[in-house]
Amino acid sequence: MKLVKVHITLKEGVLDPQGKAVQNSLQTLGYDNVQEVRVGKYLELTVEDHANIEQEIEDMCNKLLANPVIENYSYTVEEEVAQ
């Protein structure tokens, strides 16, 4: 089994009102060094290993997990560590 870690982020130039709100709250708490916050998503997929695993993940990201109009994605494929 492989553990696939998918990160989804908003594309540069796409407004992120949620990130802006988080940034404002951080500043309220006194963290004035924070220049920008962008909120994204993190998904973990446990996938049976096979030859085309990377291509399959790309497809999943393009078809469903990310919206290519507004989001970028990146992923890593790792060996699943037994619990």
Binding site: L15, P17, Q18, A21, L64, N67, V69, I70
Partner: protein
């Protein structure tokens, strides 16, 4: 004229949509559960608002992968008029039937109130009963209605006259004040405001009714001989 209203788990404007088409417009309108929906034989398809699949992942994303959306694609290709309102608009965008995406409202608030819209394109089968640049009052009810597309897409929308409705006082941060757009072919319209909630005077506005009347008039002109 026979309307199909596609119902997804979490749709909540389906009955309003059916009511507008059936009771106010006076035509036939069936509620079709997405799983067993067969869109054959319908003259127009209405995708209602709501929170399909609880807005999981992204609004409309999960619904856009259902098999009824494959049928929608075929019908869109075949020229059948398709109207998506609110979550219905989100589904059409996620399915790639319309360009762009919808983001969280700029002020991060769910907004539910009447907005003034301008009918910037009345040369469509959904808006032909409106006057050019008519200003109408239609309610919005959304959290993710902030229309976004890149500059290239926006230029295309403008060049092809695909922007149909704009907000007079942009409530959500939408690019170019966009409230509703149509596909290039002119048979798929998506919009955030709810015309079905403004279909008769008792609802404080009957301005949305002309949209349904436009669909009926254009259908009659096209398909009913001798009318």
């Amino acid at each position: 004229m026979k309307f199909a209203v596609v119902v997804f788990p979490g749709s909540n404007c389906d009955r309003d949509m059916q009511y507008a088409a059936k009771e106010v417009l006076g035509e036939e309108a069936d509620l079709l559960w997405y799983k067993e929906a067969n869109l054959d034989g319908y003259d127009a398809i209405l995708i209602p608002g709501g929170f399909s699949y609880g807005d999981y992942l992204r609004c409309g994303a999960i619904a856009s992968t259902s098999s009824v959306v494959s049928q929608l694609r075929e019908k869109a290709e075949a020229g059948v008029p398709i109207l998506g309102v609110c979550n219905g608009f989100q589904i059409l965008l996620e399915a790639g039937l319309l360009p762009g995406a919808l983001l969280r409202n700029k002020n991060l608030k769910f907004m539910c109130h009447f907005e003034e819209l301008e009918v910037v394109n009345n040369q469509t089968q959904f808006t032909s009963e409106y006057q050019p640049n008519e200003v109408i009052s239609v309610p919005i009810a959304h959290n993710e209605g902030n229309y976004y597309c890149d500059d290239e897409t926006l230029a295309q929308l403008k060049a092809n006259n695909q922007i149909v409705f704009t907000y007079k006082n942009n409530p959500n941060g939408s690019v170019a004040d966009i409230a509703g757009i149509i596909n290039e072919q002119g048979n798929v319209l998506g919009m955030m405001p709810h015309p079905e909630r403004a279909a008769e005077a008792i609802l404080n506005s009957a301005d949305g009714l002309k949209l349904f009347q436009s669909m009926l008039v254009n259908w009659r002109e096209r398909y009913v001989a001798g009318v």
